[in-house]
């Protein structure tokens, strides 16, 4: 039988994590499918499990002086239902498009980044929110900015004795948006997704942060575009987007799509996401 730990306190959880080689279990929406696939091809082995679900203190969203704190066990549904400023509109649009309601009810914000899938819908949002990840271990607590947290294709900076305990987002005046492109409506993995946060003053952009997912091993910020948008009018923003602004993406061919398509669709979606801020029709996802 697979060993199963379900500690009631973070202290106990960190002690188990320090002593045993365990897989952390949160909402299970990535852990179980991966296990089912291995079992189907005759590989029944599984690490012992550290179930975090009894650590209720790690669930929930709270406002602090200069930042917002999202406990690691906060679910997509928690995010959808929370009363949050427009800065989080994009992250919440993403939450509504994750899987179906069942997945949103269980899947956690931290689980999403720990899986570090190139198609993880939360990741581009967190990039545009300049989020930091709070990692805890018996050694202490450290904060890692999202770009440093995700170190590659399904790879993260989480050490063997660490647990993600929260996501921290600095307060900012901006507004967020998110667009996802998939081959069906629900339960679909993104072919491309785009997140944006824009701060504007009387129609002029004062700060822009944009990120594209599913177009490289790790979702990427579009820093050249962000610079180009600085000071421009919101209404002109879509037209400013140029092919070169997305030159850093490295989309691949896979079962879902082709690299050439992704590159071009990313361009279209970046323009669309900006057009949304300008008050253009809100695009619905295909």
């Amino acid at each position: 039988m697979i060993g199963y730990h379900r500690p009631a306190t973070l202290t106990d959880a960190l002690a188990i994590r320090a002593r045993h080689d365990v897989q952390v279990l949160a909402g299970g929406t990535d852990v179980y499918p991966a296990f089912a696939t291995r079992r189907a091809w005759g590989d029944p082995a599984h690490k012992d499990v550290l179930d975090m679900s009894a650590l209720s203190a790690l669930r929930g969203i709270s406002e602090h002086a200069d930042h917002w704190r999202f406990g690691a066990l906060t679910t997509w549904t928690d995010l959808i239902r929370a009363d949050l400023p427009p800065l989080f509109d994009g992250y919440r649009m993403a939450a509504r498009e994750v899987g179906g309601v069942q997945i949103q009810n269980r899947g956690t914000l931290a689980g999403n980044i720990c899986t570090a899938s190139p198609a993880g819908d939360g990741i581009p949002c967190l990039l545009t929110l300049d989020a930091e990840v709070e990692l805890s271990s018996q050694r202490g607590v450290r904060l890692v900015p999202i770009p440093d947290f995700i170190t590659g294709y399904r790879a993260t900076a989480v050490e063997a004795d660490e647990i993600v305990t929260a996501l921290l987002v600095p307060k900012s005046a901006g507004q967020g948006r998110f667009l996802k492109l998939g081959a069906r409506k629900y339960l679909v993995i993104s072919i491309v997704m785009v997140a944006a946060v824009i701060e504007a003053d009387k129609g002029a952009i004062t700060a822009a942060r944009l990120a594209v997912g599913s177009c490289s091993a790790v979702a990427q910020r579009l820093t050249a575009l962000e610079a180009a948008l600085q000071g421009k009018s919101l209404a002109d923003a879509p037209d400013i987007v140029a092919v070169d602004h997305l030159a850093g993406l490295r989309p691949i061919n896979d079962v879902r799509s082709t690299g050439a398509y992704r590159q071009d669709a990313a361009l279209t979606l970046v323009r669309d996401v900006l057009a949304g801020f300008a008050g253009g029709a809100v695009r619905s996802v295909a």
């Binding site: 039988m1 189907a40 069942q102 492109l181 079962v255 050439a260 398509y261």
Partner: protein, 917 residues
Amino acid sequence: MLDKPQATAPTIPLIVNGEARQVAADPFRPLSDTLREGLGLTGTKIGCEAGDCGACTVLMDGAQVCACLIATGQAAGARIETVEGPGPDGLTDRLRHAFLAHGAAQCGICTPGMLMAATDLLSRNATPSHQDVEDALGGVLCRCTGYTKIIEAVLMVASPVAARIMEDDTGHVGQRIARLDGLAKVDGSDRFGADIAPADALWMRVVRSPHARARFAFGDLEAVRAATPGLAAIFTHADVPGENSFGIFPHLKDQPVLAPGQVRYRGEAVVALVGTRDAVEGLADAALPIHWSIEPAVTGVDAGLAEGAPVLHAFAPDNVLARGNLKTGDVAAGHAAGAATASGIFTTAFVEHAYIEPEAGYAVRVGDRIEVTACTQAPYMDLEEVARVLGLPQEAVRIMPTACGGGFGGKLDVSVQPLLAVAAWLLKRPVRIIYSRIESMASSTKRHPARIVAKASADATGRLTAYELEGDFNTGAYASWGPTVANRVPVHGAGPYKVPNVWNRTRAVYTNETPAGAFRGFGVPQAAIANETLMDDLAGRLGLDRWAIRRINALDHGDATYSGHRLASSAGLPQCLDALKSDWDQMLGRVASHNESGARKRRGAGIACMWYGCGNTSMSNPSTMRITLAGDGKLTFWNGAVDIGQGSTTILAQMAAEALGLPVAAFTLVVGDTDLTADAGKTSASRQTYVSGNAARLAGEALRARILKLANAGADAKLTLSGQVLSISDGESVRTIDLASLRADADGVVLEGIATWDPPTTKLDADGQGIPYGTYGFAAQIAEVEVDVGLGTVKVLNIIAAHDVGRAINPTLVEGQIHGGIAQGLGLALMEEFIPGRTENLHDYLIPTTGDMPAIKTYLIEDPEETGPFGAKGVGEPALVATAPAILGAIRHACGARMTQMPVLPHRLWAALKGRA
């Protein structure tokens, strides 16, 4: 809480449907498993164990969740509501009744999940919008219904208007009665393949080839068995007592039960492990001494047909399994006579049936007989296969079908049956198996990928002068239904049109890919894509409306088909087209005015027709039905036709009841057990309504004739059954028969009616000429789509479908078939592509969800079929065929892209629009 790993399963407290329960379970086991195996609550279904299908949806602390993604340990102390409970404030109970009344459950395997997701929605939002319902049910897949009636049912509960009153009196032909097997489907008590097994059954797990083509040798398997506690046996091909082979056609039993030293596709069965559940699930494949030598695989028909290609089967040295041919007139002359000619090459992908119930069942040896209980579409074919594989006479085999959680052709071939039979026979112990989703998808048959080269010509008025088709169908590693596809396509390939000169040729080609077999339409949907696109091409070249060119050419009463069959009776395509005419004109108008804005989202309208022969092609395919009256007044309908959700149990009873003259409610139903019911043939080829319907009608008439003769009553006499007294009122006079006073046979039966019916067909000659079917279903559908020309995405907005069904025995069930067919046609056109080893799960293999369905309107055209029961024909397959080409036509109308490769995924449409295909 648990803070230490334990050696034995701890006891976990759960509050299930309001009741505190304690269950001993491995805390990491999914809650779905614990509910089913630990608490016996099998109403919660398992379709994927990966969050992809939603069949396992339950409420946990009031919110819908996938029970397969929850560790049992995580649910400790939580409130769990399952389909077996009434739901908060009785909501689940109210939903059940609405589902039943609206025909929202077909096969019923998704129903528990749907009910729980809907319970979640209505418990937070008493008046949801259509969109709210789509969102709430978006995580539960249904492969049968197209979601339309499910959403209707949920909105109905939500609306203040009371649920619709059911017609209840006689339940005869034409009435929208609720499915007779429906109650069990909505209350979670229906028993599917995975839901029942003897308590002492051993478990089986099949070890499958991870390679598409390889040879292998075994090391010391017995040493592994001996070293694995709880493992009773490791069976290999050498253990199969009879013939180690199966297949649909008597001369093509080319697929081994267990591979004898070589495998021909990824997913092929190599050994079967039997033992305790922990033993078979805990033993890694890598722990078995199987020494592989991998060989280069043949992928795709071109590779199969290539000079010097590796040969799959010695009896087919060119890798061609079967050829089909139909020739009439002179196509060269026909093309020359045309004012316009169009041609094209069209390709389609492997398509997975994606029934939500993976194959499952159990077998028990009873003395010198074997009994196999499993989900199936074809119990008598299973019986023959099992007898051969065990080397037993057919009388020694009994097949007891469970409820079947979707089939669509994929459960016509045996899967678990021979494996279970071999194990239970040899071990003399009951043995059960449940395929995982991935195992089901990797091992079971698919729709044939097609490459169709076609050419059509028409004269200046639009009349077709010639049609030519060459189709290559990838039949995968084993024959399955490949020959049927090769034969059906030539007969239907030029569409439901009058064409004087036709030459259609097909080949089914072996490759090292997943076997392709039967799937709703047997190759006709693929051929219709080519055919209908060429019709649009011709209309464009000749300056004709796309509706008009179809109307001009539509087969009509008295016309001869290109196989030389003069349609003496039902041929309702002209009526179908006429029914759609005003919708078509409106749609064209709507689309044009939308597109005036020049927006990036362009709309388009498309139209397609179809026809489909009911029953086997030029082959006897009889059905036998029996109705008995016992001395105690028990009226029993013995019906061997398997209901895979399409509703045969209900409509056959409606027809039997009408023919006999007693209400449906008077019948006790016995369905599908080969020891009890006669062979009704398989549930495929849209034949059960037409063929078994006739047998049911004739059996009813035969029993009625006996009764009337006994009572000396006239043909119009009315029957009433009350206890053991049968009253026959004929005008003024009423006679009564005390059934107990009649002489009974050993089973207590005093009167019976038995009838067999076989559709009138003739052999086809070498040019495909003859009478291949007794009758044909016809349909026309129009589709309205919106294409985002920037992203290449397509949203289907509306589909309007007109189907000539001869007679709608139960209009609700007919509509359900059409809705479900449309969903599958939409999937075929836009998203479904099975790639062995890459899309073998429901995460990567996409089927439509609630949010992908268009609004659907249906017209049921009833052009009665003389040879059909009460005028009826089949609709199961016709539902699907016209949808994909109608969508393709609409896409082209919207944005100009003539798509010839299925599915039209966004990147393909985008590439076509950019001209870089």
